[in-house]
Amino acid sequence: MKALVYVTLKPDVLDPQGVAVAASAHSLGYQALRAVRQGKLFEVELAAADERAARTQLQELCEKLLANPVIEDYRIERIEA
């Protein structure tokens, strides 16, 4: 089974990398760009009986490893067989 896991910073956490990317975009002339928040995307392959089992495993993995719950949120998307 394959899944996509997005890990993003909580809204109140400063993201200096996103700010720097936005500043670079502005210097390239993309004035319409308002803000950038940088996150992570994990492509995960796992063995699981069904989508629900996969989601349970992935949630555990996010809480313990992929995300730091103090500063990050996660979102599990597109689980495919």
Binding site: D12, V13, L14, P16, A20, N68, V70, I71
Partner: protein, 236 residues
């Protein structure tokens, strides 16, 4: 006996060992992260700076799962004294032994310089040789040193005296200009609620000899030594 942990990518482990053994004259040894037990009679555990596991995922995120960390968690839960500098601080936060997290520096630049930190709480086992308000001159060298914790938790930490060190200027003023990395509330070092686990971004082990730029780090490592000796006397 002091145990200095050694993770793949640690690089201040031998400096910490030198500070303890050669400068303070206490027994200490390196403990490889694959070990599952701390040495017998361990009185203090030190997590050194460096880039454990190449800072993959997040600094400290991988080291937290090293086999030795289970023993460190047990040691800390039993009240044992644990001190983490720099990457060691990051590991302690990731392991849940300290609240909060370390984020990339506000400037995104690696910072390597000497800074002033103000002792906010001198009643910890790590600052007893200092007095409240005292300024220490210590080196920092990090890319991810911006301490962050949610506002409600920060308020609780302040009430409990968990904020131990803050970045300040030479006059002792805790100001935005004196904040090198964007740490919330200028925080440079904190203890856990029980007060036996200390994490700080500055490097006391790199400030133990005046010949090498200053000796203020002794105030911190010396306090730890005093605390260990006091505990040994109580037991005896």
């Amino acid at each position: 006996m002091f145990a200095v942990l050694q993770f793949p990518g640690s690089n201040d482990d031998r400096d910490m060992l030198f500070a303890l053994k050669s400068v303070l004259g206490v027994p200490a040894r390196l403990v490889w992260h694959k070990e599952t037990e701390l040495p017998p009679n361990t009185q203090g555990v030190l997590l050194p700076g460096g880039f454990s596991y190449g800072d993959y995922l997040r600094p400290g995120a991988m080291a937290r799962f090293s086999p030795i960390m289970a023993a460190v968690l047990r040691f800390a839960e039993a009240g044992g004294l644990v001190l983490g500098t720099c990457n060691g601080f990051q590991i302690l936060c990731e392991a849940g032994l300290l609240p909060g997290a370390l984020r990339p520096n506000r400037t995104l630049q690696f910072i390597c310089e000497r800074v002033w930190v103000r002792v906010e709480n001198a009643r910890t086992p790590f600052t007893s040789r200092a007095r409240a308000g005292q300024l220490l001159r210590l080196p920092i060298k990090h890319g991810d040193g911006a301490y962050f914790v949610a506002a409600d938790e920060l308020a609780r930490m302040q009430e409990r005296g968990q904020i131990v060190l803050r970045y300040a200027d030479a006059s002792g003023a805790v100001s935005e200009a004196a904040n090198p990395n964007g740490a919330i509330a200028n925080i440079a070092g904190i203890v856990n609620e029980a007060g036996n686990v200390f994490g700080l971004m500055p490097h006391p082990e790199h400030a133990v000899e005046p010949l090498l730029g200053g000796g203020d780090g002794r105030a911190i490592l010396g306090s730890l030594l005093d605390a260990v000796r006091q505990r040994a006397e109580v037991r005896a």
